[in-house]
Amino acid sequence: MNSMVKRRQSLITFGVNALAWLLSLILLAPLLLILFNSFKTSKEASAMALSLTANPQWSNYSVVIEKGKLGTTFFNSLLYSVSSVLLCTLLSTMAAYVMSRNRRKLHNFLYLFIVLGIAMPINFVTLMRVMQVTKLMNKKIGIILLYTATQIPFNVFLIHSFVGKIPVEIDEAAVIDGAPATGLFIQIVLPLMKPVLVTVMVLTFLNTWNEFVMPLYFLDSSTKWPMTLAVYNFFGMYFKDWNLVCADIVMTSAPVVLVYLLGQKYIVAGMTAGAVKG
């Protein structure tokens, strides 16, 4: 009897593990396909098989960097992502901090007003008009400000709930010691916010790096394009050379995969915040 229960148990354990592996492989297969094909010759890659090649063509990568103008677009993406991360984190932190600590009617209203932006869609047509009037159309700074503006709501939400958990007594002690408002914020509260700031920075980086709709609408010249849009354009021109397209995809995705693997803990923390509450 006991051995039967044990056997049944180990059968279930085996089944659960096998299922997990099967599902993981379904998720991984398309990604491996791209990685494997990026090392093949154009002829081999045209079969689009999920197999390793005997002689890897490392030159695919250098060809793509040259033909796909990856140098320029990589630095564009880096500029947009890093600038948006810094600006958006700074502005969101300052706003969320004040709204969380100074809870008068005005601040509560402003907080809800900003957080409503999480659900609000962008009207790209009238946004173009605003961009023209503010002279931000077709400018790199315009794109950076757009990425900052659109990510403020979620970041304010994340930081606001975190600041709420930092005891106010810490502030009071600092104020009695004579710290000015900015000094209290920068020297006392900011260091305590490190976990949520990392989450905000990682998420903002990933979102900005992956985004392509803003440049699609508001940047007319390909020299200002980020990597995502450039790879799509490259795909349009070289769709017969899947090996090159795959190499381009790998290089465009490498930074986000790297940031994901390093910051997984922080991403999950941010993604589940607000969704799970008792």
Partner: protein, 292 residues
């Protein structure tokens, strides 16, 4: 302690300024411009009443179909992502070896750009040499090898399948956090009473997870109504209008310079989303003390 001196309101001004000018203002203007004849060719606009809305809801154009497509996309992907996400979450909260590896893999598609995912699946769904058809033929299922995104009947289901593949890991991650917040006491009590796995799921996990499932549903609905990336990358609305959704239609109106209809469609998305979004925000800020 003087709160206004210690926590000066000007700290919030930078964020507010950018948010209002580049986010809220266009939406408000959008509503206004929906009642005009605004186009690329005339910067002077005239009030035309409900003309644009009549165009959008008229039987002479395809906009109603686009609206219905969007709603269908939203319904199908919401149900599928919740159902698959829930199954994955239940599976990956069991005693599985290399648990973190599996969780990390399932979440992976979420961190890739939708444009990249679109290109990957354009290759996989290629009718002649794509991995999908090759695999089907290899196991003798030649009849199942289809033209996928190039077939007017199968294009929309294919696009939705790709979107589900990309988004289910996100829902799974939220639901795993939800399952882990359920007190183990319930499961221990059930074990003493001799409850089996299905009974535990049906009578403990599912009811305790309802609030979290509500959130994931709302998140999916908001995402579905606003979808653009995946559709644009895979089919850009084609073949014909088979996969056209509201935001891809907005982009086409924008490209053709027909700003009035574009902004009207956008306003419709805004109104639809804000109704759903209001409830989400209310839930999200609950538990933050004196706010709600």
């Amino acid at each position: 302690m003087n709160k206004n001196r210690v926590y000066p309101t000007w700290f919030a001004l930078g964020a507010l300024l950018l948010y209002v000018v580049l986010y809220v203002l266009p939406s408000v203007m959008g509503l206004g411009y929906s009642f005009t004849d605004w186009s690329e060719y005339s910067w002077e606009v005239h009030f035309v009443g409900l003309e644009n809305f009549k165009t959008v809801f008229s039987a002479n154009y395809n906009y109603v179909r686009v609206l219905l497509n969007t709603l269908r996309f939203t319904a199908v992907t919401t149900i599928a992502k919740n159902a698959i996400g829930l199954m994955l979450a239940v599976l990956l909260t069991k005693k599985v070896r290399m648990l973190n590896f599996h969780r990390a893999v399932m979440y992976m598609p979420c961190v890739l750009s939708a444009l990249i995912v679109g290109m990957i699946f354009k290759s996989i769904m290629d009718p002649k040499v794509g991995l999908l058809n090759t695999a089907l033929r290899a196991v003798g299922l030649n009849g199942l090898a289809q033209k996928w995104i190039y077939d007017s009947k199968l294009a929309f289901p294919s696009v939705m399948a790709v979107d589900i593949w990309k988004g289910m890991g996100y829902i799974m991650t939220i639901l795993i956090a939800g399952i882990m917040s359920i007190s183990p006491v319930y499961y221990e009590a059930a074990a003493i009473d001799g409850g089996n796995a299905w009974q535990c799921f049906r009578h403990i996990t599912l009811p305790m997870l309802t609030p979290t499932l509500t959130v994931t549903t709302v998140l999916n609905v908001i995402y579905g109504l606003r979808v653009f990336d995946t559709v644009y990358a895979l089919t850009n609305g084609g073949p014909g209008f088979a996969t056209e959704v509201l935001y891809t239609a907005v982009y086409k109106e924008f490209s053709k310079g027909r700003y009035a209809v574009g902004t009207t469609l956008s306003t419709i998305i805004t109104l639809l989303t804000l109704v759903v979004g209001y409830f989400m925000i209310k839930h999200m800020v609950k538990g933050e003390g004196d706010l709600a």
